[in-house]
Symmetry: C3
Subunit: 304 residues, 3 copies
C-alpha cells in the first residue's frame, strides 16, 4: 500500500495509513528483538535538520534510521547561530534536499515543516513545528497504547495536564477519536483543550469526549500526562497550587484499575512522584523506547 509522500500532521493520514504504521511498527519491534538486520534504507542518507534543539527526538530518529541501514547527516542549531548566516529557510531546505534522501525537520515556527515539504523533492517528516504538530509522537503513542492493551477502541483514556498548549494532546485526541476510544479531558481552568478541536473530532468521528477539572481515575485504562508549565500563569502562587493539584502521586492512583497504564511524552520534571515512577502503572519508559520501531516503520514506509 502507498503511504503519504510527506508526514507533516496526523491529519495527513487516513486510518489505513495509521493501520499500516501500527502493523509495521510491530514487525520492526520484533526484528529489533531478534537482532534481525534490516536494510531497507541501506545506501540512503537521512538528514535530521533541527533548527530547535531536541536531543531526544533527534537521537530517536537517528537511531531508527541507522537501524534500517541508513547513514545520517546531523544538524542541530545550538543557541543563536543560524544554519547559514542570513540564508533563507527555503535555500537551506533546497540545499539539504540535494544532500539527502529523506529530511526530518524541526523548527519553532508553525507551518515550517509544511513549507519545507513543498520545497523538497524528497520526503519530509515533521519532527515538531512549534506548538503545532508532532505526528510521529502521536503515532508512537497510539502504537504504545495498542501494544499494551491489544486495542484502542472502547478504551477509557484520560488526557491530563495543560491541554491548551501541549501539541501532543491535540494530535493524540484526534488519533484516539479516530480509533473509537472514549476520551476524558482533565485540565486546570484556563488550560482546557481548544473547543474547535473537540467539536471537530465529535463531528468527524462521532467521538465520546468528556471534560472535567478534577482527577478521578477509577475507570481509566490509559492515563496520558503532560507538563503544566509555570510560565503559563501570571500568578506564581496559582501556578504552584495547580502544579501540586495535578501532580500524580501514590495517593492519586489509589483506586485506579490494576492494569491502568500511565503515559508521558517525556521529558518530565516533577509532575510524577517517585513512588509512581516505581509502580507497575508507569509505562512511559516503554513508551519512549517505542520511538525507535515506530519511527523505523514510518521511514520504511516513506522511502521506497
Amino acid at each position: 500500500m502507498e503511504f503519504v509522500k510527506d508526514l507533516i500532521s496526523i491529519r495527513d493520514l487516513e486510518k489505513k495509513h495509521i493501520d499500516l504504521i501500527l502493523k509495521k511498527s510491530s514487525q520492526m519491534e520484533q526484528a529489533l528483538k531478534t537482532g534481525k538486520e534490516l536494510n531497507s534504507l541501506k545506501g540512503k542518507v537521512v538528514a535530521t535538520l533541527f533548527f530547535e534543539p531536541s536531543t531526544r527526538t533527534r537521537l530517536s530518529f537517528q537511531s531508527a534510521a541507522m537501524r534500517l541501514g541508513a547513514k545520517v547527516l546531523s544538524f542541530e542549531d545550538v543557541g543563536a547561530s543560524s544554519i547559514v548566516k542570513g540564508e533563507t529557510f527555503s535555500d537551506t531546505i533546497r540545499m539539504v534536499d540535494g544532500y539527502s534522501d529523506l529530511i526530518v525537520v524541526r523548527h519553532s515556527k508553525e507551518g515550517s515543516a509544511r513549507y519545507a515539504a513543498q520545497l523538497a523533492e524528497h520526503p519530509v517528516i515533521n519532527g515538531g513545528d512549534g506548538g503545532n504538530q508532532h505526528p510521529t509522537q502521536t503515532l508512537l503513542d497510539l502504537y504504545t497504547i495498542k501494544r499494551a492493551k491489544r486495542k484502542i477502541e472502547g478504551l477509557n483514556v484520560t488526557l491530563l495536564g495543560d491541554l491548551k498548549h501541549a501539541r501532543t494532546m491535540r494530535s493524540l485526541l484526534y488519533g484516539l477519536a479516530m480509533y473509537g476510544a472514549s476520551i476524558e479531558l482533565v485540565a486546570p481552568k484556563g488550560l482546557e483543550m481548544n473547543r474547535e478541536v473537540i467539536k471537530e473530532v465529535k463531528e468527524k468521528f462521532n467521538a465520546n469526549v468528556t471534560e472535567k477539572s478534577t482527577i478521578q481515575l477509577s475507570n481509566t485504562d490509559v492515563l496520558y500526562l503532560c507538563r503544566i508549565q509555570k510560565e503559563r500563569f501570571s500568578d506564581q502562587y496559582e501556578a504552584e497550587k495547580v502544579q501540586k493539584e495535578f501532580r500524580i502521586t501514590g495517593e492519586t492512583i489509589k483506586g485506579a484499575k490494576e492494569d491502568m497504564i500511565i503515559l508521558h511524552p517525556l521529558p518530565k520534571v516533577d509532575e510524577v512522584a517517585p513512588e509512581v515512577d516505581r509502580s507497575k502503572h508507569a509505562y512511559y519508559y516503554e513508551q519512549a523506547r517505542m520511538g525507535i520501531p515506530v519511527r523505523m516503520a514510518i521511514m520504511d514506509a516513506m522511502v521506497v
Copy 2:
C-alpha cells in the same frame, strides 16, 4: 591515473587532474541518478574538521563521503570553544590523522590547510581556509559550467561582485583561464580583482580577461555572482548604493542570451531578486547539488 595526495589549492592541480575530476564527477552523478550503490570508501573513516562553522560545506562533504560508503567523524567548532583547550593545531591534526583515513579541514586562518597536509599522513582536503583557497568549490563550479554548456573553452563568463575578497572568484578565474574561457570581471570600485592574479593567468594561460565597472550581459554565457558585504565599506550610504547597483533583477537580465545561466556559491542573501530566482537563468540550486558528485569524485580519487 594518479591524483594529488592533498588538495589544498586549485594551483596544486594540472589540467589532467581536473579533467579526471570532471570525468569522474559525471560518472558519480550518473550513479546517484540510477541509485547504484558505490563502495570505494567502504570501511574508511572520513573526518570533517571544521574550526569555523560552515554547515553547507560540512554537510556536503559528509553526504558525499557517505554516498561512497564511508563513515564520518564530525567536528564543528561552535563559538569560542576550542577543539581541545589550549592544544596546538598541530597536535589536533596529528590526533585526527590517527583516527581517520581522510581529513577535510576548514579553518579561518590562511595556510592552515597546507600546514595540516604537511603534518598528516592521510590525505587532506582544504574545505576553505580564510580568504585564501576553497578548491572543491572551484571544481564544482567548473563541473557545473561544463555540464550546462558541454564545454568551457570559448565561453563568455562574467564574474560579478566583490572580486577583491571572494576567495571563490580568484580560484575560479584561474580555473576558467586554464580551460580557455573569455572572462569579464565586473566589480565595484575598490573591490576589483587582485592585479597579480590577472597578470598571472594572462601570462600562464594566455587568458582573455577584461575588466568593467558596470553590468552588461548581452554576450554573457555564464554569469557568476558573489556577495558584496556591507562591512567592506566605511560609508554605509555608499555600501547600500553599490549593493543596489549590483543586485541582479529582472531588469538586469533583460537582453541577456536565452541560455545564459546564473551561478552563485551560496548562501545568498538579497543580491538576487525573487523574479530571477524563478527565472530559467537561475542555475545555483543545480550548482549546489553538484557539490555531492564532485566531492565524491575528489574523495574517490584521493583514497586508494
Copy 3:
C-alpha cells in the same frame, strides 16, 4: 572468555580481563594495518554521550566503533544547554539505553558513570567522570607500554606531574602495580599522589613504589607526564616556578636511557619543550593512536 558487563573503573577488571584487552588490542592494531574489514559491531548503534566536551576522547571512541562496523549516535553538550531541559540524568540514560546497544558516557560528576551502568540494560563505558576514573585511558597506556617494551613487569616507570589531581595517574599506578612494574612518583610539594592509593597497591600487589620531589631519569624506562595546572596554586609566582621546574626539556632528558619513552595522555600545552617533541623519546603521538585499537578491543569484548 567473558569480559565485564560495564567498564567504569580499572578496579572492575581482574588481570585476566586486562590480558584479554592487551591481546585483542594487538589483533585490532594488526587488522587496522592490513586494512582487514572488521564487522563485530555491524548493525549495532553506539551512543557517545558527552555531558562534558572532550573532542579527543569522543572522536577516538567514535572512530573505534566505526572501525568495527557500528553506527554512532553522537551527543556532546556544548556550554550550558542541558541534554533535555530539566530532565533528570536517569531519564536521559534510560532514553539513550533504548536507542543504542552500547553507551559511552562522560560526565563531570564523580560516580555518574557507575550510576548510568546501574540504570542501563546495555553495556556502559566510562569515558571519564570528573576527577575520578578514566579506565580506557589506563588500558591504552598499559597497551602502549607493553607494545613499546614487550613487557610491563620489572620496568622502571616514572610518573611525573600533579599526581594529586590527575585521574589518569591514580588508575595507571594501579594498573602498573598489578603488572609488577617498579614505580617512581615525582610530584611537586602539595601535589603528591594520594597516600591511600599508594598503600592500597603496596598491600594488594606488593608493589615497589618510591616517592621523590626532584627529577632524576637515569634508570627510567618509561616517563609518564601529566600537566600541572596553575589553578592548583594560590600563589601564581609559586605556580610558575613549579611549572618551570617540572617542564621536560632537552636538559632534563640528558643522561636518560637511549630507549626511554615519554608518554602523555594529551592534550599537552607547554609542559614539554619542542626539542623533546622532536626527540626519539617522544612517544605520545604513538600513544594517542593506540586509542583506536584499544577502544576497539574493549567494545569488541563488551558487545556480544
